[in-house]
């Protein structure tokens, strides 16, 4: 177990002694022979799961195995947005639970992840979009989630530099969730890792899973690049690679892996004070505390495990960006990258048992995984600890696809690249 609580006092003391006393944020644990629960995937969801298992469910013999360095998957590659502005009953309570956990996260894990509730504004450009957002906003409000409908002038007051006058698709208004915002993504992984580590969880990096050992229909452990690790229960939290790992246990999932690109501009003096999404093109943007515009758009749309995308989507995103805010023409793109999404067949996630005893699945996050991190960890921990779904995640069953009880926010059907 490493380190002490971060506090003004500890910071002051370390400043005075040249920061020589800080301990590693998490131990470089070596695998033990066996654990009660092994989580596969040292990303946000896996680390959060381990943390809540230890913190809320009192379990301690837990390991997280990670093939590379923790936080190197989508928790370190997303555009940092958190929100709970969902429509369907299966989703809203879950994402709102996540939002509430975000709101208390830093004090809970004693790590400043810079949860910044600067608001998420979805713009609309025609009556049909407006009505759909009214339906959504009202669903949020009935679920106790904050939502406001802004008219054109209210949008203008908030973001006066949007293209209101020369636009191909004029802005009519927007749906605002003030409690939405951004979180410093890497810090979420580090903060959960540090907090879990302090509760005794082993975080084992550079440990790639190569096989899932199953005996009599029940898991017994994992073959890894660092040897066999016994486990009574195994929780998969490796979105992007869920299909690959689940296949080791003979499972086929309702998931395709797709690449989603993300972009950041050079640092600028702040001028965008919320997250804004364009309703007439694929573009959403926020501005980080370092001043970079962080933005993205649609997935590339083909199966991919390469963490990079192609030019047509880059152009599509920036066409949207310039259509929405033409003042950014001379701002420069600094870096683009890609993350691999578990795109599920209905656009919603899975937190469920599988047909293999002791093997649990946390997958299918599409591009909504980051905002879900705390609730995903909590609900997966609940499932692993209690063998029953958490109250806010009851809809995320694996058999919902077969049954037709899909949670299809966009109404695109069983075609992952359209969600």
């Amino acid at each position: 177990m490493s380190g002490e609580r971060y506090s003004f006092f500890s910071l002051l003391r370390e400043t005075l002694r040249g920061h020589t006393g800080w301990k590693p944020a998490w131990r470089k644990a070596a695998p033990q022979k066996a654990y009660d629960i092994v989580i596969v995937g040292g990303g946000g969801h896996g680390l959060a799961t381990a943390y809540y298992l230890a913190r809320r469910y009192g379990l301690t013999k837990i390991a997280v195995v990670e093939k590379g360095w923790i936080g190197g998957g989508n928790v370190g590659r997303n555009t940092t947005i958190v929100r709970s502005n969902y429509l369907l009953p299966g989703n809203v309570p879950f994402y709102e639970q996540s939002m509430k956990l975000w709101e208390g996260l830093e004090q809970d894990i004693n790590y400043n992840a810079m949860v910044s509730q600067r608001g998420v504004l979805n713009l609309f450009h025609n009556d049909a979009q407006r009505n759909a957002y009214i339906r959504r906003g009202n669903a949020m409000r009935l679920n106790g989630v904050d939502a406001e409908l802004l008219n054109r002038e209210a949008v203008r007051a908030k973001l006066p530099f949007l293209d209101f006058d020369n636009a191909r698709f004029p802005i009519q208004g927007g749906l605002l969730q003030r409690r939405g915002g951004t979180v410093r993504h890497d810090a979420v992984a580090w903060g959960y890792a540090r907090a879990a580590d302090r509760l005794g969880v082993d975080i084992i990096e550079n440990c790639e899973v190569q096989g899932i050992r199953v005996h009599d229909g029940h898991v017994t452990g994992l073959e890894t690049t660092r040897g066999f690790i016994g486990a009574r229960k195994i929780g998969l939290a490796c979105a992007g690679n869920s299909s690959r790992v689940a296949a080791m246990a003979g499972l086929r999932l309702p998931i395709e892996s797709h690449v989603l690109q993300a972009f950041v501009s050079e640092g600028l003096k702040p001028f965008i004070d919320c997250v804004a999404t364009f309703g007439a093109g694929h573009f959403y943007v926020s501005q980080s505390d370092k001043g970079g515009l962080v933005f993205g758009g649609d997935i590339d749309g083909y199966n991919s495990y390469a963490q990079r995308g192609n030019l047509p989507v880059v152009e599509d995103v920036l066409e949207g960006g310039m259509a929405l805010m033409p003042r950014i023409g001379r701002v420069r793109l600094l870096r683009q990258w890609g993350g691999i999404m578990d795109m599920s067949m209905d656009g919603s996630p899975i937190i469920d048992r599988t047909s293999v005893g002791g093997l649990y699945l946390n997958a299918g996050w599409c591009y909504g995984g980051f905002k879900a991190t705390p609730a995903s960890g909590l609900c997966f921990a609940h499932l692993l600890a209690r063998d029953e779904p958490h109250a806010v995640a009851t809809a995320y069953r694996l058999d919902r696809f077969g049954k037709g009880a899909v949670i299809d926010e966009k109404g695109m059907g069983a075609q992952p690249n359209l969600h």
């Binding site: 690959r244 395709e256 083909y302 991919s304 495990y305 075609q415 690249n417």
Partner: protein
């Protein structure tokens, strides 16, 4: 990424749209429900060689079967679906 359409020649991604796994086969009406569920919802989703369907919507409107590596994005073959097994 570029695909060499067997009709039109090499073209950029912007002319195509994607529909996923080309190896799934539509079951008969009488097939067990599991088969239907697998057809509609379940995918191998491999990391590596992948046979997949693309539609040359902004070109000749042919459906194509593309063999492509999902890790490297290397394209190994492109054929009109009509010369492949129909999925």
């Amino acid at each position: 990424m570029r695909l060499t359409c067997p009709h039109c020649g090499p073209r950029g991604l912007e002319e195509f749209s994607y529909r996923g796994d080309a190896t799934v086969r539509r079951p008969s009406l009488e097939a067990p429900e599991e088969d239907w569920i697998a057809y509609v919802y379940l995918r191998d989703n491999p990391c590596g060689a992948h046979k997949e369907l693309w539609y040359h919507g902004s070109g000749c409107r042919a459906w194509l079967v593309v063999e492509r590596n999902t890790l490297t994005h290397a394209v190994h073959s492109v054929n009109a679906v009509s010369v492949e097994d129909a999925p």
